[in-house]
């Protein structure tokens, strides 16, 4: 038994990236443990059954819940991909929330008013949401490239500007006053379900998940297989060296933010091009952008990792919904996610911890990489 453990660890130590993956998993374990402890303190009797509910998530109600899991994961995959893409190019896109909001408004506006588009309705709505999110994302890029304004600060400001702009525009253009929300989009603007409707009967799933997977694939290829992606990452890694090598570092910063914004904007469209979902005029930032940061960190800023982490988030969120049977609110999921983010911030420490443990058991040295350098 001890030998088996040792061999497994040796195998893990040989794979590149494995330490980072392990530290991500460790962060998840810490997050879940913290959640369990909070539940034990608040309500010891229900804590274990409640915790079990979170862990089993969608398994409790069959295919319908699995469909809902994918539906809930979709916007998070988009925002996570947006944040991860920016991370890889050395930028911190804390503004995914604002870009998501802008995309959401554009999609809803087109969904309500542009019925003449017929079968192309939803696709056009996503396209313009993508453009709008991209332009909104390009703003902090421009400010950083030409005015030396840190993108985190400008993005935070733009999140609020986007939120109030959305409220203002919803009130002026697509307002349903009786319910203080946007009007319903037309049927042709709703994302189709295709065959998913019969696989996951009764769930809200739609082709949004396929669009998300398509984006993940494209970004994966751009980052890892193209000169363009290589250039963007070089600028993020060392702006001056990239400039010396003949790259246009200003253009690349703007492009990185533009692409990150476009992804988040498309995410906003896929989330709101669904029957029964409306934009509300409350002054509350949309949470998807911040969840995206967690998912990007958990997914180690790799597109495929983001896809998996996003689905994991959907899984947890569904578990949170089933918690209503117990005396807990679904906010426990956000608490768990917050602790996971915190431990992701400590990832360097966790990686050292994992590496020294593996070294102790297997007597092999492992290199620790700090990952993308974000300043």
């Amino acid at each position: 038994m001890k030998n088996l453990w040792k061999n497994t660890l040796t195998l893990i130590a040989k794979r590149s990236n494995s330490i980072q993956v392990l530290s991500s998993l460790l962060a998840i374990v810490f997050g879940l443990l913290f959640g369990l402890i909070v539940m034990l303190i608040v309500n010891p009797a229900d804590a274990f059954p409640g915790f079990f509910t979170i862990l089993t998530g969608p398994f409790q109600a069959g295919m319908r819940s699995f469909g809902n899991m994918f539906y809930r994961a979709t916007p998070i995959i988009f925002t996570g991909l947006s944040v991860a893409f920016a991370f890889r190019t050395g930028l911190f896109n804390i503004g995914a929330t604002g870009q998501f909001t802008i995309g959401a408004f554009i999609a809803v506006y087109i969904g309500v008013h542009w019925g003449f588009l017929g079968p192309f309705h939803w696709a056009v709505a996503i396209f313009f949401a993508l453009v709008g999110g991209g332009l909104w994302g390009a703003l902090p890029g421009l400010l950083k490239a030409f005015r030396n304004v840190h993108e985190v600060v400008s993005s935070i400001m733009l999140n609020y500007v986007a939120m109030y702009l959305m409220i203002l525009l919803v009130r002026r253009t697509v307002f349903f006053g009786d319910h203080a929300r946007s009007l319903a989009i037309q049927d042709s603007a709703e994302l189709p379900k295709w065959f998913l409707g019969s696989i996951f009967p009764g769930s809200s799933i739609n082709i949004g998940i396929f669009i998300a997977i398509l984006f993940v694939a494209v970004i994966h290829i751009v980052l890892n297989k193209t000169t363009f992606g290589y250039e963007l990452q070089s600028v993020g890694f060392n702006k001056d060296a990239a400039k010396y090598a003949g790259m246009n570092e200003k253009r690349n910063i703007v492009l990185s933010m533009l692409i990150a914004g476009a992804i988040a904007g498309a995410g906003g469209a896929t989330f709101f091009l669904v029957g029964g979902r409306y934009l509300h005029v409350n002054a509350v930032l949309m949470p998807q952008g911040f969840t995206g940061i967690a998912v990007a960190l958990l997914g180690l800023s790799a597109p495929i990792g983001v896809l998996l982490a996003g689905i994991f988030y959907g899984f947890l969120e569904l578990g949170g919904l089933f918690l209503q049977g117990f005396d807990f609110t679904s906010e426990i999921i956000d608490i768990i996610i917050a602790v996971i983010i915190y431990f992701s911030a400590l990832s360097l420490f966790l990686q050292k911890f994992v590496a020294s443990y593996i070294k102790k058991v297997t007597e092999t040295d492992i290199e620790i990489s700090e990952g993308a350098d974000i300043k």
Partner: protein
């Protein structure tokens, strides 16, 4: 003229209370950032402070018969202590673990509202805390009768406003007239130089973050006292707005106060536009006024960032071996 005076008398207390809140939280963040640690967790820390403070005030109110202002004082103190403790998580990650400061702060911002709602629901059965009492001070003998200043500062005032003035004076003296203040500022500008002169960078930075945490926690309770009677796990973006105040104020206390006044004015105009003469005729929607502080910050940043006044080492973990 008399009408204008009445309008100003009506609006001024609102502006003052928003200004007090913004400047206290921003002043705290100033200590953190001048010591070299970025603190975008203000919103989360405010929420934790507000939650603990509001809860304490409810318990005290239900169990003890003490005057309102004493209760407010207890609430404010509990909020400050809670904020200080909560900010230690950020300090530990940022200073000891050399983590990315934006990420650990994001975790705190994410944690606080969820924790507040979850705990409130688990303990009281309601997702929000009701602070029913009105904590404003209607009139102060003598002071309220002073022309102009009386109605502006001493009518419908809040204990927290006077605390804010006190804090500002103390903060200014500490920052510019004490050895600690000089050390703190040097840590944010050139930590290696400070280190070589025997300043303990870690200690100073911990102090900076803790001051910021305490003042943000205090600010959270100020929000509960003067802006809402029902705390539902949110402080209406005042944490991020304070960050905007700090940056627009170029990390300097006096400018920060002026910017806080300006932002508070925008905020009040957005809430009671019809009460203000002149501005009413502009006929701008509420949302535009709400947006203005953030747009103003962006513009100020765009103009000043080339020769930015930001502390030079802000956001960088201190590594003694990296000269």
């Amino acid at each position: 003229m008399i009408e204008l005076m009445n309008q100003l008398n009506f609006a001024f207390p609102y502006i003052i209370r928003a200004m007090a809140l913004l400047s206290v939280v921003a002043l705290g963040a100033l200590f953190s950032e001048r010591s070299g640690v970025v603190n975008i967790a203000l919103e989360g820390i405010m929420i934790m402070g507000a939650f603990a403070g509001a809860w304490t005030m409810i318990i005290v109110m239900n169990n003890f018969a003490i005057p309102r202002q004493w209760n407010a004082f207890i609430g404010l103190s509990v909020g400050a202590v809670t904020g200080l403790i909560f900010s230690l998580f950020h300090a530990f990650a940022a200073i000891h673990m050399k983590s990315n400061q934006i990420i650990s702060a994001t975790a705190l911002n994410f944690f606080a509202p969820a924790f507040a709602i979850f705990t409130a629901r688990a303990v009281t059965g309601d997702r929000a805390l009701n602070v029913r009492l009105d904590y404003s001070i209607r009139n102060i003998p003598i002071l309220s009768d002073i022309p102009i200043l009386g109605p502006w500062f001493f009518t419908n005032a809040y204990l927290s406003t006077f605390i804010a003035v006190f804090i500002f004076i103390v903060a200014y003296i500490v920052l510019y007239k004490t050895p600690f203040g000089l050390r703190l500022r040097s840590c944010g500008e050139n930590p290696h130089a400070a280190d070589s002169l025997g300043v303990n960078i870690y200690k100073i930075r911990y102090a900076g973050v803790m001051i910021s945490g305490a003042l943000a926690g205090l600010g959270g309770v100020m929000f509960v006292l003067s802006f809402s009677t029902r705390f539902d796990g949110a402080v209406a973006g005042f944490g991020f707005l304070s960050l905007a105040v700090l940056i627009s104020g170029q990390w300097k206390p006096i400018r920060l106060i002026l910017i806080a006044f300006l932002f508070a004015l925008f905020r009040v105009v957005s809430e009671i536009p019809d009460e203000l003469i002149g501005i009413r005729n502009l006929n701008l929607p509420q949302e535009i006024w709400r947006m203005l502080p953030f747009i103003a910050t962006l513009v100020i940043l765009a103009i000043t960032s080339k020769g930015s006044a930001a502390p030079r080492a802000v956001g960088e973990p201190f590594d003694a071996g990296k000269r």
